[in-house]
Subunit: 258 residues, 2 copies
Amino acid sequence: MSLQNIRVVLVNTSHAGNIGGAARAMKNMGLSRLVLVEPEDFPSPDAVARASGATDILDAAQVVGTLEEALVGCSLVLGTSARDRRIPWPLLDPRECATVSVEQAACGSDVALVFGREYAGLTNEELQRCQYHVHIPSDPQFSSLNLAAAVQVLTYEVRMAWLAAEGRPTKVEKLETTAMLDAQPVTVDELENYFGHLEQTLVDIGFLDPAKPRHLMPRLRRLYGRSGISKLEMNILRGILTETQKAARGEPHKRRSE
Amino acid sequence: MSLQNIRVVLVNTSHAGNIGGAARAMKNMGLSRLVLVEPEDFPSPDAVARASGATDILDAAQVVGTLEEALVGCSLVLGTSARDRRIPWPLLDPRECATVSVEQAACGSDVALVFGREYAGLTNEELQRCQYHVHIPSDPQFSSLNLAAAVQVLTYEVRMAWLAAEGRPTKVEKLETTAMLDAQPVTVDELENYFGHLEQTLVDIGFLDPAKPRHLMPRLRRLYGRSGISKLEMNILRGILTETQKAARGEPHKRRSE
């Protein structure tokens, strides 16, 4: 499923910087289709500056004269709303909005997320063109988000829903080779080899008496067993044992870092 | 539980506008405690402009010289990270980050959400002061969010987690009295009265023959039953029936809006 079916529609935006910020947020979250209804100042260097590299989205943005034109081809339209309304309308929070948007887009339908003016939002007439209204649950004492910030929240939720729908993880680490080793857990046989090495070393240094072992090894097994040791950490632990054994034999030691 | 235990720490921010944007995002989401580690340009009119009314947060912001000072008193520190790392670290997505933050704050502990420089993020040393790293799942092809946008995403998730923990709804409508009536569903007895009135009216206008009712009423029951009719809508429907009956009796009609 592609996120390209989900378009962002900005209605009558005053500040070009917000258009740039919205484009950056969209690109960060993997969306690309931006439609501008009667922007007051576009194209604009302020938009390019705030887009911070998402200029491809600005260049491809469609500028139209009416909301109707912006919604052509859409089967699902969701409008952001912060205002009290006279006519109650089906209301979603951003997470619910993202879920239905991704479901619809997965069926090949076009979806529009509509954002209103910086100070006045969407008009009642515009809101009535939307099947759903979306409200970002802000503090009632200070409820109006910056336009680009609102686009960021909704597109973030769309990406989270999309990752979930695709069965992709919401967190991925790119690791270097050493780090890969560090992320891989040891196998039980590697752990057993370690316990053998550890036990011998403890005998070598005179800490463990094979004739009177008490509960020393079970306790150490319990400790290391629950620690989730990585392959890299195991290399370190084995290195410590080898050096310890050398020291016990009276061999000259050298620093690991040499 | 209060959100005041969760502080936002911005490290070595270059652009004062981003500090203002972060303050606005925090206030939108109900957070208030902002700590700035070596900001390059603060206080600044750019910060005030982008804060758009969240100046109380800027005025109360604590400016410190080191990350260590910013974290005094915290038992949980989460650092945002977009970069490949050499040492894997416990990694959370924004939703998981919000859950642990709100859990800790609910126990009275202080929590810090730490954000790095606009272009270079947090250093490895700074990241190692954090128990957890948080990564916003952006598109790998264009992964770097604007600083204030990143603050918006994390504080939004904190608010969502806080609303859930408090058992508060994530969507609340403030409705006028008429709208209240519109939001209230009719009761089954009101619906039954309507069906009675409807049936009589259909007889009055000659559409329903009581001797040969066919499946007309069951079909109308099915339609209106699934529509989730509100009390206000019911008033309208009953009004239509009353006027229809008058018309059927040959009484003079008047427009509803008169």
